[in-house]
């Protein structure tokens, strides 16, 4: 018996030593969004479960994108996990820069990931990054102003209804703009918004032969409609407004409607920050009459492992922890169901506790309505709704959105902006060998 106990104690000590020896410190690059900050605050739970420590490198989105791109293309090895989006993941996965996540544990339940998210973060059926949270875009509107205008918001309105409603809700004397939309230059800012708007007018970036399509009437229709509506009912200086500027306006009660990321719903309904928290309704992003595609995008912030990291096993453990069902339960327990990372798992939307959240259903409906493999009315050779998943897109779209913003600001006409967009896109694509 004594011998048995001694052996047992010895084995325990060896196991303890082994687990200490295996404990790693992993470095994670991430963005300063609310859900990521919450994750950082809960890291102790991961450390307690696995023994691994975590070092966080939090950066502004554009800085992060440049930083992780430099590191992964040079195999710098500064990070063990990178927070990346739907745009980078399939491109980097195809280049062999990311570790495939094809051996996640059975209890992780990879089939529970929302199909749209899983597809957007995969290349040729292999998952390269696990979604931490996902989003689409939808309409957030002031129910009181809509009622005052004598209108009722349908669940799936058209752009034509939105324009009329915006006009009716606008009250310049009281500083209320009928509608607030992004106009700021940048492919992820105004560029993303006008791309999905154009999709819902039947436009596309490229035809099947990768020829730029800005010379087609659908783009002119979309841009003219957007500018006319914003002139009638938008805030002054909308050409420089992005997500944060519109969030600020909406929270202060200065917008009748705002069409933007579904994650904004938790901000505008938070009574600590928003003066209109109890007056907000939600609806699907609009489409133009007669066009079946809606103007909602699809995006996920996901966690990927750069190929070549020395700490792949620990990094995978972290990803399994941070994107698991248990993590969602942990956040709900500590911070409430309204603060759990949305848009990643099917089971979240089946959870009765989450169904009570006012924006949960519309967020899911918006995500389900987005199809990155079939984003436009006419056929396209690319994947992606508010972006085109090719490496050249970020540069081209930034320049195109600058031309569009100049048109919103009245510095050039829509025709001039579209002609410049057509020329610069054609040049860039030819130079890239398309």
């Amino acid at each position: 018996m004594k011998y048995f106990i001694r052996t047992l104690l010895g084995a325990t000590a060896v196991c303890a030593l082994a687990s200490t020896a295996l404990a790693e410190t992993i470095t994670i690059a991430t963005v300063n969004n609310g859900d990521m900050i919450r994750m950082q605050g809960l890291t102790d739970d991961f450390t307690a479960k696995t023994g691994h420590e975590v070092e966080w490198v939090t950066l502004e989105e554009n800085v992060l994108r440049q930083r992780v791109t430099t590191d992964i293309t040079t195999k710098g090895g500064a990070f063990d996990i990178m927070t990346i989006g739907m745009y980078e993941t399939p491109i980097w996965g195809a280049n062999g820069w990311l570790v495939p996540l094809d051996d996640l544990s059975a209890e992780y339940d990879v089939d529970d990931l929302l199909p749209a998210m899983r597809a957007g973060l995969s290349k040729d059926g292999t998952l390269y990054a696990a979604p931490f949270y996902g989003e689409s875009s939808m309409i957030m509107y002031r129910k009181d102003l809509m009622e005052k205008a004598g209108l009722e918001m349908p669940d799936a309105p058209t752009w034509q209804f939105i324009r009329e409603a915006a006009k009716a809700m606008t009250d310049r004397d009281n500083d209320i703009n009928g509608i607030c939309l992004r106009g700021k230059a940048g492919w992820g800012e105004g560029g993303a918004f006008i791309t999905v708007t154009a999709n819902s007018f039947g436009a596309r970036w490229f035809d099947e032969n990768w020829k730029a399509q800005f010379d087609q009437p659908e783009w002119a229709d979309a841009l003219n409609f957007y500018i006319d509506m914003m002139e009638e009912s938008g805030p002054a200086g909308y050409a420089t407004n992005g997500f944060n500027e519109n969030l600020s306006l909406f929270q202060q009660g200065k917008c009748g409607m705002w069409i933007d990321a579904t994650v904004a719903a938790s901000f505008v309904t938070n009574p600590n920050d928003s003066t209109v928290a109890d007056k907000v309704g939600f609806a699907l992003a609009p489409n133009s009459e007669g066009v079946e595609k809606k103007s909602n995008w699809l995006w996920a912030w996901a966690l990927g492992i750069p190929a070549g990291t020395q700490k792949e096993a620990a990094a995978k453990e972290f990803i399994e922890w941070a994107t698991s069902k248990d993590y969602i339960e942990l956040v709900a327990e500590k911070e409430g169901w309204a603060n759990v990372p949305p848009g990643a798992r099917t089971s979240l939307y089946e959870n009765p506790n989450y169904k009570d959240i006012p924006f949960a259903k519309m967020t899911l409906d918006s995500i389900l309505a987005a199809d990155p493999n079939n984003p436009t009315v006419k056929p396209v050779p690319y994947v992606g709704i508010q972006f085109v998943a090719i490496p050249e897109f970020a540069g081209i779209a930034t320049e195109v959105s600058q031309e569009f913003s100049a048109a919103y600001a009245g510095q050039q006409t829509v025709e001039e902006a579209l002609a410049k967009a057509q020329a610069l896109t054609t040049d860039a694509m030819e130079a890239a060998g398309y």
Binding site: Q40, G41, E55, W56, V63, N244, Q252, D273, T275
Partner: protein
Amino acid sequence: MARAVTTQRKSINTLVAWVIALLIFFPILWTILTSFKTEAQAINDPPLFLFFDWTLENYAVVQERSDYMKFLWNSVIIAGGSTILGTIIAIPAAWSMAFVPSKRTKDILLWMLSTKMLPAVGVLYPIYLLFIQLGLLDTRVGLVIVLMLINLPIIVWMLYTYFKEIPGEILEAARMDGASLRDEILYVLTPMAIPGIASTILLNLILAWNEAFWTLNLTAANAAPLTAFIASYSSPEGLFFAKLSAASTMAIAPILILGWFSQKQLVRGLTFGAVK
């Protein structure tokens, strides 16, 4: 009468100087004020100037979320190290250019300055690859070297300008008294150029402290200075202006205090020889 005009002119000059100074300082003042507001007050329209519920909550949140002292220490070492190293290299270089000029001295000075005209991002990849090969990525030593090299042209230029103001005859006299080259630079030139050297060091310290391209791109978790600390509070999807302002205030406070106490030396050094 003439006296009255002078007084009036003086008053106007003072007033104009104050207005300009306040305009220049206003963004910093606004950042400091915003750091004491709640997030909702930070975006209030019309903006709240002084009458709001002052809170220290943002500082508490920033302290809790980030290891401020680690970032601060990195900034002190990187800015201080690059400045000291740069000054040690630049003093002999500026001495030779000021007192033993060759035919090409002016060209060399211009060439040195021309390296500042290249956008930093143009050499990001080569330097990043070098850092990987040399194991300098995310190290303070690596950043000290890079920031020293970046600021070296400015240090040499400034010191060269100050040294040119010092009569060469004094150095000649020292040499005649048997001073070696080392003694000449250390015991004759350097003490005479102290105001110039001090202002060069101060300016370089400020430049290195605020440098936000290389310090963000060549660091991760270990060597990140206060610029990375600020960047971690900026978000395009969420209104965290009050917290960002608190982080900014904490980041600029040390250099602001240093600048305040050394403003006399800084101004004296920068205007050294300007009215001759």
